[in-house]
Symmetry: C2
Subunit: 247 residues, 2 copies
């Protein structure tokens, strides 16, 4: 009934192998909603619902990373981690990931104030994303870092997405997908650091197990968001108060 | 796109009327999963999945109420609220709601250790329930009290449930449904107090609006749990790691 390891993880290599197994089994690239999205099977309205909901995730990432930063007593670690906040928020002269995401929602015809208000998102999106922010507040710094490890598996899905959206929808253009292209560079660098960190700082089987559980938790955070989109916008059960596409 | 009031709520009576409208429009008695459950349309396996997931909600209620209690600086208010914790946890010589719920899951054939471990519940259940606990920690005491107001609408659904389960499934017996029967007395008393409290303590349109938003939030917490059950166990998309019924 449960996919967690029952075998003790005795080394950093065994930990890394187990993390890669979790990614292969539970990362959201396996979710049917992504297959529909990348395969050209969604209407423009369904893609708008996806982009609107995903905005809340994007907008919460720097908040999450600020909480992570606040958990580190080690200045060197904070100096390493801080660029993640700027990658999303941007800084003078450098656009961030949130601005890139808003360009995507602008392009799709969503009103920017409506997107930024987040009032039309699915409650399940909000609960899942907030669970992520609370997780890094409540768990150990090691688990907080480990929960970012889904980025190990992100480049594959971003590449698939760029190719799929351009090939299968006539309205997408390359510059609108800048968010994903940028993450092709950012995610591997960040994931590499986090992986090295958990390899060095999870020092016994219990800590390695906690690292694996943090990755599974984060995979659930991503999966739940797609389950909710599929239920609402593919199967047609939009809950009270949520966005209803007109197209 | 949004169901919230745009009209200022000028009095306690206007507040109460709006709260009752929200219940009539958004309480989870309207959810298709409950219609299936009460109408005899679910398999025993689907009912087990419901009882297993709902256990996490039941088990979290006294934790939620302990947080609410911790927000009150007024001793009289704490003395009024504390019985809610005991209603669920029980006390020497008095069984509580959690024990009654476990009798239901026992009866359905679920292993008690498995239920109590909560390891097989849907991630969406966990995120929604945890969102409720976090809400009462982070919002004002007034909003914390207001979020309990779904109990205003509970007796109807409990009555429907007792009747529906007994009439439409041959395996249910009355004593197994003791949880719901007990709540027929408890919920109206608690809801009455909470309603009186928000009527007296929401003193301007902004505070009344916050009370309404808290009730809508709580309705979402309940609705998301049923959406997740329907998606997983009626439409057949059980997410990785969650309980899979054998029957």
């Amino acid at each position: 009934m449960n996919a967690r390891a029952t075998v003790e993880l005795k080394s950093a290599d065994e930990l890394e192998a187990r993390l890669r197994e979790i990614g292969a089994a539970r990362y959201h690239n396996l979710h049917p909603f992504h297959k529909l999205l990348h395969g050209g099977k969604l209407s423009r309205g369904q893609i708008k619902a996806w982009a609107l909901n995903r905005y809340y995730y994007q907008a919460s990432i720097p908040v999450k990373d600020a909480v992570v930063l606040s958990r580190f007593r080690d200045r060197a670690l904070r100096r390493e981690w801080i660029h993640r906040i700027e990658d999303h928020d941007g800084r003078e002269g450098a656009e961030g990931g949130i601005e890139r995401w808003l360009k995507l929602t602008d392009f799709l015809g969503l009103d920017r104030r409506y997107v930024e208000s987040t009032e039309g998102i699915l409650p399940a999106t909000r609960f899942a994303v907030d669970a992520y922010v609370n997780f890094v507040r409540e768990r150990s710094p090691l688990e907080a870092v480990a929960s970012s490890l889904t980025e190990l598996f992100a480049p594959g899905i971003h590449r698939e997405r760029i190719e799929g959206l351009l090939a299968n929808y006539d309205f997408f253009t390359d510059d609108v997908l800048a968010y994903f292209r940028k993450r092709l560079d950012q995610a591997p660098r960040d994931a590499g650091f986090a992986l090295q960190f958990v390899r060095e700082n999870a020092r016994n089987p219990e800590e390695r197990e906690a690292v694996c559980a943090a990755l599974s938790f984060k995979a659930d955070v991503l999966w739940v968001q797609l389950d909710a989109l599929q239920h609402a916008y593919v199967e047609g059960h939009v809950p009270p108060g949520a966005y209803v596409p007109e197209e």
